[in-house]
Amino acid sequence: MRNTLSILVANEPGELSRIVGLFSARGYNIETITVGTTLEEGWSRCTIVTEGDDSVIEQILKQCARLARVREAKSVTKLPHIEREMALIDVNAKTPADRQEIKNLVDIFRAKVVDISHDRMILEASGNKEKVDRFIGLLESFQLNEVARTGYVAINRLTADTRSADTPVRMSAKHEQAAVNT
């Protein structure tokens, strides 16, 4: 199962390699990884998309949470969430008809044209995985030159009460305390 993990980690040299090293050392694969600053100075949020069943994800989160400079590790997939990725796409647009068709697709997908030359265009698209995949898929017929994707960032929806002890996200808390599995 595809899971999006959100890890709050100190913005210090080496801390990201500690997280990444933990994935490779335990044989977990990273599909995408993004890191960015947060509102709180000195702290970064690292969003990692990875594959694994519930027990694997639980292990990954606990291992991450164990690191001294990780303050929180959770799976956002477990609750309603919003996930976005951005892509920059360099695509051939050799004829006016191609350009027009690409422009139509850009409008439909609410993407943007960010650069253009006499035979190529660079497009900017963002959205969830399916949308970005589909957009790139439709552009393939014009011949893609290069695609740069950011990887995913994610945040829980306002309707999701992440503090509720009954929701699955509790396994992600730094201090899972005790559990009776019946």
Binding site: S17, L22, G42, A65, R66, A68, Q177, V180, N181
Partner: protein, 618 residues
């Protein structure tokens, strides 16, 4: 010059006695800047003391002293010259033990930490100094031993240029440390040291590496800063809720076939007495892991002895047939579980551990509790005591059948020791050692057959009496670790029980023991083989003894003499007791070369990955 030096040292002592640096490991780290400020208030102004701007090396050494280090093991080199310069100035407060190889430094620090529960400290130089230390760091990591290892590094401006003796220590040690630092600013150094000691000792302990570039140790720090607002790693977990404890208590009282499977967590948290109380109230059997040996007295009537690959028949059968497995401070290691699917397959599993990531890592428990062993067992004992005596007695009555079965298993397959007129049996050596040391010596082992025999045939009475490399299985660990343990416990007899293979990996440290008059006793179980490997080749590889023959070895008695130690040898059973008695009584380093029967095997053995019931008994 001399008088100035004296003044400095005197002042430093006064500061320590003043309690300013009375640093408690359980406390959240202190603001290093405020410590310095407080120092100004009480010691008055003196250019010579800590109030003045100091160079990094002095901050480092003072940081060690502040955190309770009075012994450090190490070997100097270019990148740590400034630090060694300061160590020389502070030699009255912190004793440095010069090892002959950095692996020995880290193992010695580990031995010190394992014998006391305090944080061990080691200091090595950059490059090869750091790489030589890695085996020790990994050993400590696997067994959750608190260490602070300081490694020198090339100056910051040349990091990444393949400078002389440069290696990426931070990167190399990343997967084998609890935490690590590359110091980038001398102002952070004091805070880093304090935090390193806190992290190493708190929660589930482990090694912390501080990589210190040479220029940092030379720079003058005008004003230290506290970069880290808070330690997040081991905040105390919230107290277990009563409901979980009640559930656990109910299960314990009502179990018909319970078994306590206890490990290093008992030793680390000092939970022996609490464990004793709980199991005595319940009259429940206990089986310790290799790391848990000593946490519960082996000879106690509720003890089944060690479980796992070379554990007792009763312990392994007990776990197989138990209806309740109470796992405390353990991690379901493969050497314990054998085939995971069939391990404790009839049991409801309660897992209590301080590390949340240990819960469900290999075996999903039915009930879990994240807590240190001591406080969990304490609270369970209180719960049990609050229950009605009638309920407790009814529970005990239910377990009478269980005890009959367990006793039958204990009686049917005791650990066996053969005796002969001509050859010394290795098990017999441990029995004799136990007799002569009256069961109270600290036993430090290497890894292999002798380790298992020591575990099986020396009934331990208390925690920290047994020191061994469990998780990583590091040959060469025994001798230097015993040196550290002996320094930590000068009044106790410390015996390094090693094989002829492992002994040759770190025997250079004998001279360290001689130099510092550490009265180490080394007992070599010499069978002329890499014995455990030979045993596996015999049992599982059609006796193809591939590269295990150590019959060409130095004369260990002459080697001992060359080092200036007492060397003794026993070749036949009639010589054994005399050699051990004489060797242990010697007031100095003794190397006892005990030539034992060559092809003795460790039994029982559960072949790797098999059901624990498939024990091979002989």
């Amino acid at each position: 010059m001399m008088s100035k030096l004296k003044t400095i040292q005197k002042k430093a002592v006064i500061r320590k006695e003043g309690g300013l640096f009375d640093f408690s490991g359980t406390e959240i780290m202190r603001d290093a800047a405020s410590v310095t400020a407080a120092g100004e208030d009480t010691t008055g102004s003196s250019e010579d003391t800590a109030d003045k701007p100091m160079r990094g090396a002095e901050i480092l050494v003072r940081g060690l002293i502040r955190n309770g280090v009075d012994k450090i093991f190490g070997l100097p080199g270019g990148a740590v010259l400034h630090i060694y310069d300061e160590l020389w100035r502070f030699r009255d407060e912190i004793t440095h033990y010069l090892v002959r190889h950095e692996q020995g430094a880290v193992h010695a620090a580990e031995g010190y930490a394992r014998a006391t529960g305090k944080v061990g400290a080691a200091l090595v130089t950059s490059g090869p100094g750091a790489t030589n230390a890695i085996t020790g760091i990994a050993t400590a990591y696997m067994d959750s031993i608190p260490l602070v290892v300081i490694t020198g590094q090339v100056p910051l401006p040349v990091i990444g240029t393949d400078a002389f003796q440069e290696v990426d220590t931070f990167g190399l040690t990343l997967p084998i440390v609890k935490h690590s630092y590359l110091v980038r600013d001398v102002r952070d150094l004091a805070a880093i040291i304090d935090e390193a000691f806190h992290i190493a000792a708190s929660g589930k302990p482990g090694p912390v590496v501080i990589d210190v570039p040479k220029d940092i140790t030379a720079q003058i720090c005008e004003e230290p800063r506290t970069k880290f607002a808070r330690v997040f790693a081991d905040d105390v977990p919230p107290a277990a809720d009563e409901a979980i404890l009640d559930t656990i208590t109910d299960r314990l009282i009502n179990a018909e076939r319970p078994i306590f499977y206890v490990g290093g967590g008992i030793v680390t948290s000092g939970a022996s007495d609490d464990l004793m109380k709980v199991v005595e109230l319940l009259q429940a059997p206990v089986t310790p892991t290799l790391m848990g040996l000593g946490g519960f007295p082996t000879a106690h009537k509720l003890s089944l002895g060690m479980l796992g690959m070379h554990g007792t028949y009763a312990a392994n059968m007990g776990v197989s047939e138990a209806d309740l497995l109470v796992a405390v401070g353990v991690r379901f290691d493969d050497r314990v579980t054998g085939k995971l699917a069939t391990f404790a397959s009839q049991a409801e599993i309660i897992h209590i551990d301080i590390d949340p990531s240990n819960i469900g890592k290999v075996k999903q428990p039915h009930i879990s509790l994240v807590s240190d062993a001591k406080s969990a067992l304490q609270r369970i004992a209180t719960k049990l005591e609050s229950r009605e005596g009638a309920a407790l007695n009814a529970g005990k009555a239910k377990r009478e059948e269980w005890w009959k079965k367990l006793r039958a298993w204990l009686d049917s397959v005791p650990f066996g020791c053969k005796y002969s007129e001509t050859e010394i049996n290795p098990q017999q050596v441990i029995e004799e050692l136990h007799r002569i040391t009256q069961g109270v010596a600290i036993i430090v082992t290497d890894v292999g057959q002798h380790q298992m025999w020591a575990a099986q045939f020396y009934p331990f009475k208390r925690s920290r009496q047994w020191i061994t490399s469990g998780g990583l299985g590091t040959m060469g660990f025994g001798l230097p670790a015993a040196m550290g343990a002996q320094l930590a416990c000068p009044d106790k007899t410390v015996v390094a029980v090693v094989g002829d293979g492992g002994f040759q990996m770190t025997n250079q440290e004998i001279i360290t023991a001689i130099q510092y008059k550490i009265p180490l006793k080394v007992l070599i179980m010499n069978n002329g083989y890499l014995g455990m490997v030979r045993q596996w080749q015999e049992m599982f590889y059609d006796r193809a003894y591939s590269e295990v023959d150590l019959s060409i070895s130095p004369d260990f008695v002459k080697l001992a003499e060359a080092y200036g130690a007492l060397g003794l040898r026993a070749k036949i059973p009639s010589e054994l007791a005399e050699v051990l008695e004489k060797g242990l009584a010697h007031d100095g380093v003794t190397i006892m070369d005990i030539v034992v029967s060559k092809e003795e095997n460790v039994f029982p053995i559960i072949p790797a990955g098999q059901d624990t019931r498939n024990m091979i008994l002989k």
